[in-house]
């Protein structure tokens, strides 16, 4: 891969920082976009020192969709690769009780990411090159009682990415959907996760890096998740509705 510029949105997350290290190790310049981006100064210095690339920090709030164009124009250059790592799980019980809380989960996982990826897609289409990566979730493959608000928003994002890929495939713009499964991150810090099914952020980063190079479409970080989701998707609804997965 030639030296490219990679934009990471939601840059404070463990997965985004792992991605920043992986792409910088490959010699690429990095744009880190997040709320309170000044708090990422240590990470900027670290990545620049380790890999000798340029890292820039950019203020970005995915929920403020009105300033997306402004945000893109403020970047020192339109990136070659843009990855949206933003996600917010929330508490399912609270989302059931309070429609505002549910709306925040939906906006953070679907509306916001879709809006910024759409804006970037138009720029990439105009230029005739680029790769867009959306970090979605296996939770979006089928709604379950324990997290369907989050899952439905991720389902929306997955469908959006699929449509975007379909639209842009003739325009030399590539779209990747990542379905990580469980990952050891801040989001899951207090959850007991099955070791065999759970990836480290660096494994997610390696998968995404390879997927960008090889122009893959849909990426499961741990292959076992592909099998699990085939099974879960194919359980008849009459049975599925009574399960407790």
């Amino acid at each position: 891969m030639n030296k490219e510029t990679v934009l990471l949105m939601g840059a404070r997350s463990d997965i985004a920082l792992a991605l920043a290290h992986r792409f910088a190790k490959g010699g690429n310049d990095i744009q880190l976009a997040a709320r309170n981006s000044n708090g990422l100064i240590e990470d900027k210095l670290d990545i620049e020192l380790r890999y000798g690339v340029n890292v820039t920090l950019h203020e970005f709030d995915v929920l403020d969709t009105t300033v997306n164009e402004l945000f893109i124009n403020s970047l020192p250059m339109i990136p070659d690769v843009a990855v949206c790592v933003i996600g917010h799980m929330g508490e399912q019980k609270e989302s059931e009780r309070d429609v505002q809380i549910a709306a925040l989960v939906m906006r953070s996982n679907y509306e916001g990411p879709a809006a910024i990826l759409a804006a970037l897609a138009n720029r990439f289409e105009e230029r005739g090159s680029g790769t867009l990566v959306g970090i979605s979730s296996v939770a979006g493959e089928r709604g379950r009682a324990t997290n369907y608000v989050y899952g439905s928003a991720k389902a929306g994002l997955t469908a959006f990415l699929s449509g975007l890929r379909n639209r842009l495939s003739k325009k030399s713009v590539h779209v990747i959907t990542v379905l990580p499964g469980f990952v050891y991150t801040k989001m899951t810090e207090n959850m007991e996760l099955p070791v065999k099914l759970t990836a480290q952020p660096s494994e997610v980063a390696n998968s995404v890096f390879r997927a960008v190079q090889k122009k893959r479409n849909i990426v499961y970080v741990k292959p076992i998740w592909q099998l699990i989701m085939i099974i879960i998707r194919n359980i008849p609804e009459t049975i599925f509705k009574r399960t407790n997965i």
Binding site: E42, D46, R50
Partner: protein, 440 residues
Amino acid sequence: MNLSGWGRYPRIDAKLSAPRDLATLRANVHKGNAIARGNGRAYGDSAVSTQNTIHMKHFNRMLGFDTQLGQLVAESGVLLADIIDAFLPRGWFPYVTPGTKFVTLGGLIAADVHGKNHHKDGSFAKCVDWIELLTCEGDFKRCSANENTELFEWTVGGMGLTGVIIRAAIRLRPVSSTWIEQRTMVAENISHAIEIFEKFQDTTYSVAWIDCLQHGNAMGRSLVMLGEHAKAENLPSEYHSELLKIRPKRKLRIPLQFPNWVLNNFSVRVFNALYYSVGKRQSAQKLIDWDSYFYPLDTILDWNKIYGRRGFAQYQCVIPIQMADEGLRALLSTISGAGIGSFLAVLKRFGTQESKFSFPMEGYTLALDLPVNTKTLALMEQLDTITLQYGGRFYLAKDSRMSRFTFQSSEPRATAYSQYRSEQGLNELYCSTQSERLGI
């Protein structure tokens, strides 16, 4: 959760947190009984506290490098391996390095580690310009040889008991290639080995492998390995295009725990093969890459599993220079007489060192790995007595089983350290299972 050091002995049920920011770190420390933990490579329980072990893995960023001074500023959770990865290709190498690169900067400072160059360059303290740590007022204090001097001197080698090291500035060593010129010499017994060490005091790196199986005249027969960073002009021309390139090495994993006898037999066979082949040529000289020279065991990612389920202990003591020959003889004859099976030990000459609580003193240090069982635990007690008898002391980064009595008898400096800790209120916030066992 179950925590232990690299020796996997003892295993302790301990509470572990991994704060991501200073505010959380401070709040966690204020719960008391805190000890910072890096990559868990101390062998015993130095970085374990049942109530409050604090993992520093999220403080792992390098913050600046001054190419004039060769000075790196980094957070304490940065691995030495990452420092080498980033800076060796630019011509810089750690000033002092222990035998593994999978250690954190905080751990290097807290244990004031030594390398094969201690006789010439001193311990890790020598390359530490300043340290910033969280002490007891919940403040971040910078300390150095000129600022908060007392805190600095107790922190380097203080086993994490003066506070949590957050960041530090260290100096690296300029090198012109990644290669080491190694010369191996045969020593027929312990006195001969000492003679070689004394004769080659000007060589930057020196270390010996001792065959602990030998008795009598051959007791302490060993291979003394001397090393220098290879200068570009001394390297064959085919090396010149890639003097500083790091070559990726294949890493091995140990798939299962080995029965206890495997390592001992294997290691001695390797030793014998080398011993005779080197002996035939008198002294063997060769070029060896930095990774194989400094970190031979790092290639096997989890070699601690070799010792089986019960884990192992590393025994490391130092005998002061005046008593070295006699003291080492007493230690070696006890080891070879114990009938515990055969194994290797490592011998190293220390140069002079004045410090508040660090392990090294001018003399000879002996280190050996032992599987943990009743026999070896008894042997280590015997070795403790001999070390005390010859005025030696023990390396806390390796210790997992020493008694309080042994430690206090070996360490006249312990009282002053405990006093300092209580004066500063540090004993109310910081402790490890080890510090409680030893009464620090």
